[in-house]
């Protein structure tokens, strides 16, 4: 299992389209991906789950990736979050 702490840094936070990008990225891998805030955790392959986190800008999140392709999955999701989902 790989674990990493990141911060949501795009202006709009994990809004609907950003969440969809995250979910689509996570769904490309076999590994289970869990994303958590201080309040709750969600399956990163579930759009409703990710949206329910209501993670706004500057929210710290924890990614936990578990499975045969976890390294690649973590790399892809991490770059998506750190690149602010290609937004401002």
């Amino acid at each position: 299992m790989t674990r990493k702490e990141l911060v949501i840094s795009n202006r709009l936070g994990l809004h609907a389209r950003a969440a969809a990008k995250l979910v689509q990225a996570a769904s490309r891998f076999h590994a289970q991906v869990i994303i958590s805030t201080h309040q709750m955790s969600a399956d990163a392959k579930s759009i409703l789950g990710v949206l329910t986190l209501a993670a706004s800008k500057d929210t710290p999140v924890v990614l936990e990736v578990d499975g045969p392709d976890e390294a690649a999955a973590m790399k892809e999701i991490e770059s998506l979050i750190t690149s602010r989902f290609g937004e401002e």
Partner: protein, 321 residues
């Protein structure tokens, strides 16, 4: 027993939060304001009774201590240094808060010791019996241990059915199928389960309520699409079914004579592992599983009845020539 995975949360309440959440009891702080950060660790209250007479062993400091007419009258009649000592012994145990009822006036010694030990002393004009029932009932809910888990939760024939399993195994699609067949959706995707005593109650996170995501269609609102009779706010969890893509070589239950269970927040709940494969109509299988559970509750266990019959037949065969 297997344990249902999810994020557990055991809420605690500080004396200050208690005062803020029970405004309807018209609470007033009489002493010990420095101790308002103390935590209430148990939703059940206690009447200290004999604790005040010098036997503090059974005082649970994590419970709210109710001081009603009995206690206050006792303290008023038994003044002097003995009372002070008894109070100090009790309060030094770190009691989370004392709640005086019926608008009674606490003895000066009680106020002094509460201030000296930073024990919040709060008063309500309501009677003890009323305060006790309101506080216990609401604290049980507020302090109920919670588990947030990934799954779909429905009311099927009046039975609370929790569907769990890996993502994209078909939980939402099965839930939708069940709704179309007249059953009710409580929550899809994320279910919040609270434990009240031995009862598990599931509901949707507020933001998510009655929404569902269907791959290729997107996010839909079940209440808008199917009407108010297709949804339900909360429901007791009666049966957990785990959906799993059929795994070659894995053995699934073929008899059903055992009663497998899963533990949710320490409470045992009936559990089935249901393999998903082409030509297996999951919705119908789920309905049958629920019907079967209802039968079992009536004392009718089809699998065991069949096994019994089978044994009898085998026995009678032996007797035949």
């Amino acid at each position: 027993m297997r344990v249902l995975r999810g994020q557990e949360f055991h809420p605690k309440l500080s004396a200050q939060q208690f005062m803020d959440s029970f405004k309807d009891l018209e609470l007033e702080l009489l002493a010990g304001s420095a101790g308002l950060g103390r935590e209430i660790g148990n939703p059940r209250i206690q009447k200290p009774g004999l604790g005040l007479a010098g036997d503090p062993e059974y005082i649970h400091p994590d419970r709210i201590q109710i001081l009603g007419a009995t206690e206050i009258n006792y303290l008023s009649r038994h003044g002097g240094p003995d009372q002070r000592q008894a109070l100090e012994t009790v309060l030094k145990r770190g009691v989370c808060l004392f709640l005086v009822t019926k608008g009674l006036t606490p003895t000066p010694a009680l106020v002094e010791v509460a201030n000296a030990t930073n024990t919040p002393l709060i008063r309500s004009p309501k009677t003890s019996s009323y305060v006790i029932s309101v506080v216990t009932d609401r604290l049980l809910d507020m302090m109920a241990p919670r588990l947030t888990t990934h799954g779909s939760f429905l009311d099927v024939y009046g039975v609370g059915l929790l569907l769990v399993g890996e993502s994209s195994v078909g939980k939402s699609e099965s839930a939708l199928d069940l709704v179309v067949r007249g059953h009710r959706l409580v929550s899809d995707d994320i279910v919040e389960i609270r434990r009240r005593g031995e009862i598990l109650v599931g509901r949707a996170p507020e933001m998510l309520q009655y929404h569902m995501e269907l791959r290729g269609v997107g996010i839909v609102n079940i209440k808008d699409l199917f009407g108010v009779v297709a949804t339900q706010a909360q429901k007791e969890v009666d049966l957990v079914v785990e959906l799993e893509a059929w795994r070659e070589g894995r053995s699934y239950d073929r008899l059903g004579v055992d009663d497998p269970q899963t533990s949710i927040l320490g409470v045992a709940c009936p559990y089935l592992l249901l393999p998903v494969a082409p030509a297996r109509n999951i919705t119908i299988l789920l309905e049958v599983a629920v019907r079967n559970l209802l039968l079992k509750r009536k004392g009718i266990n089809s699998a065991r009845a069949f096994a019994r019959l089978h044994m009898e037949r085998m026995g009678s065969q032996k007797d035949e020539p």
